[in-house]
């Protein structure tokens, strides 16, 4: 599936203020609900997964990748990306605090693979990380992910 269908302006945001890690996951979930990408229960499912498996969802320094199962209310494959105004701790001693939340809604094991490949390309690139941290608008943040 094409990357610009998975990552869309409607589910990207910057300067998102949250109180804690659960708020960070809910903020990403809210964007996806408003966009019709997932049902409301998807946020609860992402939080349940994070509690069940521990803070492994912080997959890189400052970057959390919350996700849940397709049957937890995914309507269309999507990747929501929010940059927090103030980083929060997820309880991962290696990679806290988290400034970027990349929430993954998958409908199966296949549709989002191109999206993950693009994420790996962008988030494994130090120049891109600088660009992501410096983005002041959602358009700039979106472009950092799409133009790689």
């Amino acid at each position: 599936m094409e990357i610009n269908k998975l990552i869309r302006k409607e589910i990207v945001d910057v300067n998102v203020a949250v109180e804690d890690w659960q708020g960070a996951i809910r903020a990403a979930g809210k964007l996806m609900v408003e966009d019709g990408a997932v049902e409301e229960r998807f946020s609860d499912a992402m939080i349940r997964v994070a509690k069940e498996f521990g803070p492994y969802i912080v997959v890189a320094p400052g970057i959390a990748l919350p996700h849940a199962r397709p049957e937890d209310g995914v309507i269309k494959p999507s990747i929501a990306i929010i940059r927090l105004s103030t980083p929060v701790n997820f309880g991962n001693e290696d990679n806290d605090p988290v400034y970027l939340v990349v929430a993954l809604a998958a409908i199966d094991n296949e549709q989002h693979i191109d999206g993950l490949k693009q994420l790996a390309k962008v988030l494994g690139n130090k120049d891109k990380i600088v660009e992501i941290k410096a983005a002041t608008t959602k358009e700039e943040l979106l472009n950092a992910f799409l133009n790689a």
Binding site: Y56, A60, H67, N109, L116, K117, A120, G124
Partner: protein
Amino acid sequence: MVKLCAVCGMGLGSGLLVKMGIERVLERHGYGRNDFRVEIADISTARSMSPDIFMTTAEFAKSLRDVNAEVLTVKNLFDESEIEATLMDVFERILNEKK
């Protein structure tokens, strides 16, 4: 043929990232599909698999402590140089043992 297994919570997200990282690193070192195979497993099925190398994050490594395989951990799943530094010596040793 070295069998590798990338382990995560559900087999949907981070396991796939680890698999892609391993494949890119090994291919860059000139290894191909006759040399290695990477599978993804969620943590509940990982213990029933028998790869030569598990690669995962610190949390899942704890529950793989007593398996009969190398268990390698990565902190930054997007960092190919970390995957490379963790993986190459172990991979090449096992590959040579099997020759």
